[in-house]
């Protein structure tokens, strides 16, 4: 067969966890840059996305090879399926980090705007969700995965608050419209990161228990 499945699974697991670490760092930096309006850090995040894109392709190729040569079944099969899905979701989270960074860079040139507290709170909750989803992955912890799913709703509520803030802010400060749109976009990106973190948590539940909980309300 030319490959040892157990060894390959250890390798692919290591790859996906390394990618997870890099993506988590990107989101962490994007949020730090947002809080302190740190342009240099935002530029670093923007430049860091290529590495994630390359990793996504590498991991997908690794998975393809394993599927073709070892025909994994049972827990191995579920692990491989979960890795493929998580790989693609991590890459999307990386994209969101990049778009937050771009909006931060853009904001600096705009008329000044005071960030709504809901956005900062949202950033904190999203950061925790992503961290927990990745911890659930690293420890194959389905219970933590279930808790991550539940925490998506508060983030959605905060995003609505940010939108309402935008509705009030634009008529009041027309000159700041561009900046407000940037802030709304950041809110939208954070909300997507929370969604994708919940999706990763769902894949962890599938990997551990074999049940597909997607599209079902969290317990």
């Amino acid at each position: 067969m030319g490959m040892n499945l157990v060894t390959e699974l250890v390798e692919v697991r290591r790859s996906i966890l390394s990618m997870a670490a890099i993506v988590e760092q990107q989101i962490d930096r994007a949020i730090t840059a947002l809080r302190s309006m740190d342009i240099a850090l935002a530029r670093l995040v923007k430049a860091g996305d290529d590495e994630i894109n390359n990793l996504e392709i590498e991991i997908e190729n690794e998975c393809l090879r394993i599927f073709a040569l070892t025909h994994p079944v049972a827990g191995d099969l579920r692990f491989m399926m979960a890795v493929l899905r998580i790989n693609s979701n991590l890459e999307r989270i990386g994209d969101k980090a990049k778009s937050i960074a771009k909006r931060i860079i853009d904001l600096v040139d705009c008329a000044p705007v005071r960030l709504p507290p809901a956005l900062i709170e949202m950033a904190g909750k999203t950061r925790t969700m992503l961290g927990d989803a990745l911890t659930a992955l690293a420890n194959e912890d389905a219970d933590l995965g279930r808790r991550v799913r539940v925490s998506d709703d508060p983030v959605d509520a905060l995003q609505r608050e940010v939108f309402n803030w935008g509705h009030r802010e634009i008529p009041a400060h027309v000159e700041a419209t561009h900046a407000v749109i940037d802030v709304l976009s950041i809110g939208r990106a954070l909300e997507r990161v929370a969604d994708l973190s919940a999706a990763i948590a769902e894949d962890v539940i599938f990997l551990v228990e074999g049940s597909i909980v997607r599209h079902q309300p969290p317990e």
Binding site: N4, L5, V6, T7, L9, V10, E11, R13, R14, L17, S18, A20, A21, E24, Q25, D28, H71, P72, V73, A74, G75, D76, L77, R78, F79, G131, L134, T135, A138, N139, E140, L207, V208, E209, G210, S211
Partner: protein, 298 residues
Amino acid sequence: MTTMTQRPVSPASTPPPTGPVQVTAAPPEVLTKRPAHTQAPRPAEPSVRTAITVRAFNAWYGSFQALHKVELDVPHCRVTSLIGPSGCGKSTFLRWINRMNDLIPIARADGTLDLHGIDLLSRNTDAVDLRRRVGMVFQKPNPFPKSIYDNVAFGPRLHFRIRRRDLEDLVERSLRAAALWDEVKDRLKSSALGLSGGQQQRLCIARAIAVGPEVVLMDEPCSALDPKSTARIEDLIRELRKDYTIVIVTHNMQQAARVSDLTSFFFEGRLIETGATADIFTNPRNKQTEDYVTGRFG
């Protein structure tokens, strides 16, 4: 990042790459601890009626107990595959279903083994009649050293009084059902031993079904065949499933996955787990089944 250091995610805290030898010696705990499944048992297809009922079935060779308390419902007109490492008892179990073990003086069994209400263990059950109801196909094709026609006609001649015209029809139908007719129709009187291995195995299947059995047992029917002949037999098994209950022993787990509706995993004489084949190969409930189907042992 503070959160990163708490778990083995960051590259810095990842253990150094391990070679294949180290990994097999001490597999990472995450890969071994996985299935702590909490889901309720999933009945394969509750509506399908049972062809063979097995309850508290024990079998011995002399003082060696080969099977322990096997409980199984083999569904009617479905393919059930028996998997497990060598010596796990799956072939012994298969051989009890058509009383092949009658020929082994030290073989005995107790419990319930029942085919559509017939007690397969009872001495009152006629083994010759039973073998008409339960056909068997072996690992190596074993055609009689007779013509193709006579191989298929052998069973019907033994069991029924049948007119020549009807026998010809029966032979043709059996060969068609075994997907062999088009290849042999012009040489029915030639020796069966001139056929290829794959053709001989299909001939043995035609011979088994010519007597109208209810169950066809197959003991590794493809292990002596090339991939193309194997694919033909597997197609045939899926086709035969419409009319016959099939129980197949196979060492090829991909084959079990491809052809069977239900999979039973045997280990050390015990039936460890039975489930819908798709479940056994995606989410087995038992750790031993998981380890076997993923190639961790056996």
